[in-house]
Amino acid sequence: MNGSGIHDSHYYRALKRSIVGIVMLVALTPLLLISVMSAYQFHTAYQDKVLAHLSEVVEKHAREIDRFLLERLVQVKVTTRTYSYQQLSSEPFLKQLLQVLQEENQGLFVDLGLIDDAGIQVAYAGPFSLEHADYAGAEWFQQAMRSEIYLSDVFLGLRKLPHFIVAVRHNWEGRQWILRATIDFIGFNRLVEAVRIGETGKAVILNRAGEYQTSSPSEPTIDAALLRRILKVEDQAAATGNGASVPRLPGLLDLKASQPGKEVRITQAAEPTGGRTSIYVTTPLKNGNWFLIYQQEKADAFRDLYRARLVIIGLLLVGGLLILATTILLTDKVIGRITQADREKEMMNEQVIEAGKLASIGELASGIAHEINNPVAIMVEEAGWIQDLLSEVPIPHADNAQEVTRALEQIRTQGARCKQITHKLLSFARKTDPRVHQVQLNDLVEEVLSLSEQRARYAGVTVARHLTPDLPPVSISPSEMQQVLLNLINNAVDAMEKQGGALEITTRLDDGRVVVDVADTGPGIPQAARDGMSEGAFDYLTKPCDLEELVAKVQEAVAQGR
């Protein structure tokens, strides 16, 4: 910003930047605050809802699986209580029994076997030929011998197929016998896999050691190591008896700790392979020996939430861009106005300065005229005095006398000329007087011409006047009209200064209007300037005499045109 002169473009750019900045700040801050706050609220509420739903589903399934396992156990136990050793050790009976059980349980039981306390299978019914198989070394056998009922983990066993065993120990005739039933692994899997939510939700069962108790769904397999880590947290939770004080493991985020009575725990972890974040819902099964782990990709679980968030962000972006565009457009307009106003102010200032200059020139001229007239008056008087004296005592030499008389007369004449010049100078130096008088326009033209004629002569311009006599007087401000005419004539003389020319001033009566034509033989007005003239410049010329009776029509005739 410079004190005088017009502001540079940098100033307006900075002004625009600050206006846009402030408007954007004021407009966007509340918008962003409201959006973020409501988005956070919505996020929290929705996440809670989704997680609650997940734990509900998983818990329900866990109960179902638990019940399923318990039912199998009870069935086998009831069998041992109902039938005698003789019945159970006969293979036809056992086969019959298996058939009944399979019919009752949709073929979930694969086979049945009776094993003595030495681990030898005494009787067997099933698709495999496992008669007299020796299970003495099998882990499940040892476990089954210790407790009355036993449910094994999944293992391959002698048949080399994944399966698990329900074993019930019973005392017949003083010996410990074990009735063993194998549960169909595929059927069991189906039960677990029934837990499917969304596109990526899937469930598996792991034992405490982190071994799969179900075939994990083929497509993207759950990383076993990660699951083990999750289980570790579960273990520790179990150890402390309360989920609240579990130390956090890196990469795991507890979303919902298992609460007493509600044995569900929700953990969030990034998959080491895919890099996607998943939610893991863990709940213990089989008295804490197994865990049902439900996994779902976070993006899938919170799909609606993320969609809503996208919509909000999109709306924010579109809204923000709209605000920005509007602000920039409006600011551009405002800045345009300011620039124009500044420019107009600048022009006004220049005009005021110009007017001030003219006024001071006028004062100076007035002072000079006065100061010059007095000495000139003295000179003329002194010359007159000499003339007076000479008329009494003539100069002896006749030629000299004539010359002296001529010289004195010349002093008188030139003194009168000085008076004329200062008189005219003063009449123009005087402040323009906007008062309207009845004026004879021809006299005014003559007055102006008398002032400009000398200059025109020097410029080689001949002045021709065609003044129609007996024009009606017009009501105008004489001094303003003088200015208009003087400017026109001066411009014309300026234009013709180089090669000389003719200036023609005509006054005439046209349809009740007094018209002044000023024509010159100069090069005329360039086309570019002429275009601008029709808009404002002409107005500027006619405005001072914008009166009812008079339209000073100014015709700048081009040389070729006349």
Partner: protein, 140 residues
Amino acid sequence: MNGFNVLLVDDELEFLDTLIKRMKKRGLQVAGVNRGEDALAWLDREPVDVVVLDVKMPGLDGIETLREIKNRRPLVEVIMLTGHANMEVAVQGMELGAFDYLMKPMDIDELIYKLQDANRKKSLQEQRIKRKQEELGTRR
């Protein structure tokens, strides 16, 4: 014809002196002062028929002096002399009762004609007053 008293008032002494000399040569009874105050004082002491008054003077200026002269001696005629073409002042002077105005440098003959005219006007005025007084006197 020229038997009347003229008072020149101008602050330019050189101008005043030469003009007095020239006018005396033409047989006019002329005196000169260079201040408005002195002019008023002179009017109190000496008989004056016409005053030639410069408009622009230090001290009491032409217009003020004119006003004062017309106040004290309404019959005395005044011719204004302006150093510059200040028409407003000239017009003001005329409104205040000046006989005429002239612009410097002026032709001495023109000045003398104007002086004679002014004196004639004054004489007429005086005669008219005398007649009126006589009329009033006889009536009485």
